[in-house]
């Protein structure tokens, strides 16, 4: 590795390694949902705020419902996989059904300012931290 040279191709690999390395993290251990529930969620931190990203291919806005309370956000909906009557199936790997998942964030959040975006099958939820919970600098007198 040559020090000082930023390799743009490395950026994806680094991101993948970071995601892989955190998969045994227990940061959200007080979450009500168990691990292995659908959809798998990645939570990122952006400054003081959080961003939760999950993959929901084939799910449109109308099939999804999100509710936010003090420090939990619940996402529920249906993923449908439908083929015509006369279709004969060669290979079946996609799954369909209902899902209902709750994320617990261990900081106080501002439910009114939560923004969600669903694009290309990826749902991104921007979770701003509540003002009262932000760290305050303490001056030493």
């Amino acid at each position: 590795m040559i020090a000082g040279l930023a390799d743009p191709f490395d950026a994806l690999f680094r991101l993948q390694r970071e995601l892989e390395g955190r998969r045994t993290s227990d940061w959200l251990e007080q979450t009500t949902s168990g691990t292995g529930a659908y959809p798998p969620i990645n939570v990122f931190q952006q400054g003081h705020d959080f961003v939760a990203i999950m993959e929901l291919p084939g799910v449109a806005k109308g099939d999804l419902e999100m509710q936010a309370k003090e420090s939990t956000i619940s996402i529920s909906g249906t993923k449908a996989v439908a083929y015509g009557d006369k279709a004969s199936i060669h290979r079946r790997e996609r799954v369909a059904g209902n899902f209902n998942r709750t994320i617990t964030v261990p900081v106080k959040i501002d439910p009114d300012r939560i923004k969600a975006e669903l694009r290309d099958g990826i749902l991104a939820i921007f979770i701003p931290r509540a003002e009262s919970d932000k760290p305050r600098a303490i001056k030493i007198g």
Partner: protein, 133 residues
């Protein structure tokens, strides 16, 4: 085929390619359904995060290869704190038999991260009903 059941998580399958990549990143295999009707073969692939512009569909030497790239520049300022799945480009290939598929007429549509490829059957591959005398 949606029932009232809770869905199970499918772990992303990594691509075990015969060629080594020049870029050291993981590529994944998109989950695919293939079904057949009288008119055509339909291939449905799930590639969340890929939009039309980053899709590359290629037919050469009777091999259909699909590559979807994700734009990971959105993740630059984000620090992962809790992760359950990995992110990467997608690639999958299928070999087509020239007798069944009319390769000139393949069409594709992409929506919500799901790619639907319609491969119309060549005339002689369309089923002929056999009547029992």
């Amino acid at each position: 085929m949606a029932t009232g059941q809770e869905m199970q998580v499918q772990e992303k399958r990594e691509l075990q390619g015969k060629d080594e990549a020049t870029i050291p990143a993981r590529t994944f295999v998109p989950t695919t359904d293939i079904y057949e009707t009288e008119q055509a073969l339909t291939v449905v692939m799930e590639m969340p995060g890929v939009d039309k512009a980053n899709l590359n569909i290629h037919v050469e030497n009777d091999v259909l290869s699909v590559e979807g790239r994700i734009d990971f520049s959105k993740y630059e300022k984000l620090q992962p704190v809790y992760t359950e799945y990995n992110i990467g480009h997608y690639r999958r290939g299928f070999s087509l038999s020239p007798a069944t598929v009319d390769q000139e007429k393949i069409s594709a549509a992409m929506e919500d991260g799901v790619l639907t490829l319609t491969l119309p059957k060549a005339e002689r591959a369309k089923p002929r009903r056999i009547t029992i005398a």
